[in-house]
């Protein structure tokens, strides 16, 4: 039940992430895994995702400098990126990864370069949205600790 303004804010932010297509059902699976034994599981997984994906982005950027492009290597990197994105429910990021891989299959260098910009953009947008969401979620958790009677 969304009682306090903070509850409503967090619930609204979460709803938007799904309604606007940034996240899919897999994120809910991660939330279901969070419990007393793993109280910060979702945020830990997302943090791990951004560490892992930063490495992949760097690798892809390097690979895009080569001429001619090694489409097989690019596809491998993006396959890993897509797998990680899929594991956290990053729906738009995953979709852009798919586009990139289609350009790899078609050996379309310009398409790869263009779609990689989209991948990075969606990756960045999701990061800022999730950071904001976790920020307010932490505030809500503190409120709940201080005032357990307000817990949902």
């Amino acid at each position: 039940m969304e009682r306090t303004p903070l509850h409503r804010r967090v619930a609204y932010m979460r709803r938007c992430l799904f309604d606007q297509g940034y996240l899919d059902e897999q994120f809910v699976q991660l939330e279901d895994l969070q419990d007393e034994a793993n109280p910060n599981f979702v945020e830990e997984i997302v943090t791990l995702f951004y560490t892992d994906s930063a490495r992949l982005i760097h690798n892809i950027e390097q690979a895009l400098q080569n001429r001619p492009l090694d489409f097989n290597r690019l596809d491998d990197y993006m396959h890993q990126f897509k797998g990680s994105s899929s594991s956290i429910g990053a729906k738009k990021v995953k979709s852009e990864c798919t586009q990139f891989r289609e350009h790899c299959s078609a050996r379309n260098a310009e398409g790869c370069i263009r779609s990689f910009q989209q991948v990075k953009q969606e990756h960045t947008i999701l990061r800022s949205k999730l950071e904001a969401y976790f920020h307010w979620q932490r505030k809500l958790d503190k409120q709940t600790e201080s005032y357990p009677e307000l817990a949902a």
């Binding site: 059902e25 997984i45 892992d52 890993q80 594991s87």
Partner: protein, 143 residues
């Protein structure tokens, strides 16, 4: 193709049911991606299983060679040093009868069939979720 092997997924429950057995089901997760490894480990632990990790197929094979045994092996396909297909073939040729389930992000029928042909009991497209795990563990209970 989302899944190959067991029957149709009938459970729609999102609740993680701890499978009631006297002895905990032992699971070996073979996965090189640390993010996915962590997710699968927590998921399987939440289902009440005992989990060990291997980061590639060779580590998995070495574990069995050292005398370890597991009720269930969940293995990725693409891994460095030794991939899931090779690891599965080796395990089967060693006489390992554990349930081996492939979990891969490859979703082409031919790729999944090749993985199945290595000796898997079933193969799922990543990511694992509660429904897929429930089917696998129920299948294990019925063996």
């Amino acid at each position: 193709m989302e899944k190959m092997g067991f029957g149709n997924v009938t459970s729609t429950s999102k609740t993680m049911k701890i499978i009631d057995t006297e002895k905990k089901i032992s699971v070996l997760i073979v996965e090189d991606n640390l993010l996915i490894q962590k997710i699968h480990k927590v998921m399987m632990t939440k289902f009440g299983t005992e989990v060990q990790l291997a980061t590639n197929g060779k580590e998995a094979v070495d574990l069995f060679l050292s005398g370890a045994s597991f009720d269930l092996v969940l293995t990725d396909l693409e891994m460095p040093i030794m991939d899931g297909i090779e690891a599965t073939k080796q395990l089967r040729s060693m006489g390992v009868t554990s349930m081996i389930v492939g979990v891969t992000s490859r979703n082409q029928d031919s790729e999944i069939q090749a993985f199945m042909n290595a000796g898997l009991n079933a193969c799922y497209v990543k990511p694992l979720n509660a429904e897929k795990v429930t089917v696998v563990l129920n299948e294990l209970k019925n063996i």
